[in-house]
Amino acid sequence: MMVKVTIDGIEVEVEPGTSILNAARKIGGDAVPPAMCYYSKLPGTGGKCRTCLVEVAAGSAADPRPMPKLVASCSTPVQDGMVVNNKTSERVHNNRGGVVEFLLANHPLDCPICDQAGECHLQDLGYEHGSAKTRYEEERRTFDPIDIGNKIKLHMNRCILCYRCVFVANQLTENRVHGVLHRGEHAEISTFIEQAVENDFSGNMIDVCPVGALTDRTFRFKSRVWFLKPMEAERSCTKCCGKAVVWMFGNDIYRVTARKDKYGEVEDIDGKTAWLCNDCRFEHKSANDWNIAGPRVINRHSVISQGKYATSMEKPVKRIG
């Protein structure tokens, strides 16, 4: 038995137990709420960032009363006959704007020197829902950037505490050595004592990070992402599926990432999430290492999808650090 739900006036049929967010993704387009912490490939994620709040105008056919509060669409299951407003709700727009303001309150806004710029979900969200002027006059909390191993940089200042990287460590690796420490506004992603996050799949923490909190040290300050050409590539690997996107300038591979869908999530290939191992990600930066199939279309509404790749640039930006 499928259940029917209406989101922004568009009806869709989904399996019982589906979340409002995933029902909206089935519709696509403007009906889809943004999600900063939910990650469909990592069970247990979601509910925390509150950017996906929506208005439930009717709970179900059986009980059509509206829900009094906005609900997190990622973690609220649909009911048959539910009516949801996302883009069409002024209340959602206002409150989502409030959430974005909260996420940006302590954010350093250091996009000019952040490797995530151009593919940052917070940038997209700020562009769509933020206001040009901040009302936050207080001192921002700061942390020193640290290396968690020789491949990953942690900029806690930029972190929005989505917990996705913790779920990666729990679900893809044997030993979790990092987590969320302290609490409230002092909560931070940390290893507590200086130690490296090192295991075959730790690099996926970079791919799931919605902001520039976890970045690839082997790509650090090498280029803005929009100057690079993303190419679908494959190599034979014993640890992972070996299916990746290599980001090239001329014949050089600047970085390797997993293949992501339009929600920024690692794609499923042959029924399995195509997580990448650290060997493929960090150790194979020569075009000879890969079979390059052809350009990868990055289907996201951020700056890199606007056709401004490095076609007219002669050189990549100079390394500054």
Partner: protein, 447 residues
Amino acid sequence: MKNRRLLLEHVDVPGIDGIDVYVKQGGYASLEKALKKMSPEDVVEEVKKSGLRGRGGAGFPTGMKWSFLAKPEGVPRYLVCNADESEPGTFKDRYLMEKIPHLLIEGMILSSFALGANQSYIYIRGEFMYVLNILEKAIAEAYAKGYLGKNILGSGYDLDLVVTPGGGAYICGEETALLESLEGKRGNPRIKPPFPAVKGLWGCPTVVNNVESIAAVVPIVRDGGDAYAAIGIGRSTGTKLISACGNLARPGVYEIDLGLSVEEFIYGDDYCRGIANGKQLKACVPGGSSVPILPHFLVTKTATGEDRLMTYESLAEGGFASGSMLGSGGFIVFDEDQCIVRNTWNFARFYAHESCGQCSPCREGTGWMEKVLSRIEHGQGHMHDIDLLADINKKIEGNTICPLGDAAAWPVAAAIHHFREEFEWHIKHPSEAQTRNYGLIQQPVVA
């Protein structure tokens, strides 16, 4: 005694914390009655009839909460007592557990029997380690007398009871954060649904009840639900422990019949005996720090001039415009010399300190409010800060994973609503505000 009717009836009897004296005063009679003459369903029925509402603050009917408990075959069910009393102004559960621990234990056995739980836990805040020791001693006595363990009083019913401490976190009073903590984790509230009645402790159906709610099951079983419901007014039945504090002549824990007038509670000889040091009442937070503050002219009377009563309904009369809530019964009284701005900042600091940090509106919003209020209190506020605070409030309220967001937002919203002039005065007179208090606000003249 007027202020010691059901729960605290024997609290002053010497040795009542020991099982022999407790039994001598009629203790464990309810348990004998339930196990020998009643079925679990009968106990649930009496609790439903009693109209008992959750005494932790939310006021949700206990019997109804019990009836939501899922009962799948072959899966254990748990009863967890919430003894994480941490809401500023609230110290009633500690008093009850310290003075008369067997009342809670008897209530736990009765309630566990009603719910079909064979393993129950009391989660107590870590700071109350000395109370935990009292409870463990009492539990050992109850085992020795056969009130706990296998085949209790020959009924065939088995129950084990364990007390376990927290480590210092207000948020663990939220029932799902409490369960996380009981599982040995950070006290991050869970995303709901699922609710604990379906998936609670270790993924099993669980009921979480406040200490006072569980203790109230003892007189309910003894006298019957109807007798309990006969006390009080309307949907506010039975007695309620009120912990009174702040600038009162006689602060402390009182057991009142719901329906007592606020006037009598503050000024009556059997209760708080008025404001300390002969001063005047400035304001009151009647149900723990998270409920809206009331200015003096709305404490004993509602906006329409009715007598304000100690009931869930009467204290809420007027909504957020002119009412508050009974909440946990943490009754905080402010005299004429107290500064509302400083107190609002103090509460905001509390909530910012206690936010778990999981969801962004609470993590960022409580910290932001605290900083703005700190500036205002310390003479660096701007006029636009007042509206900013009101707006941050609206963006937190209702948008968080758990009620801590609302709990942090309401006191600030209410303080600005009722005492806006005092905030403005603080901002306009930054240095004066450091040395003297604004004073009482005037009752607005209604045309």
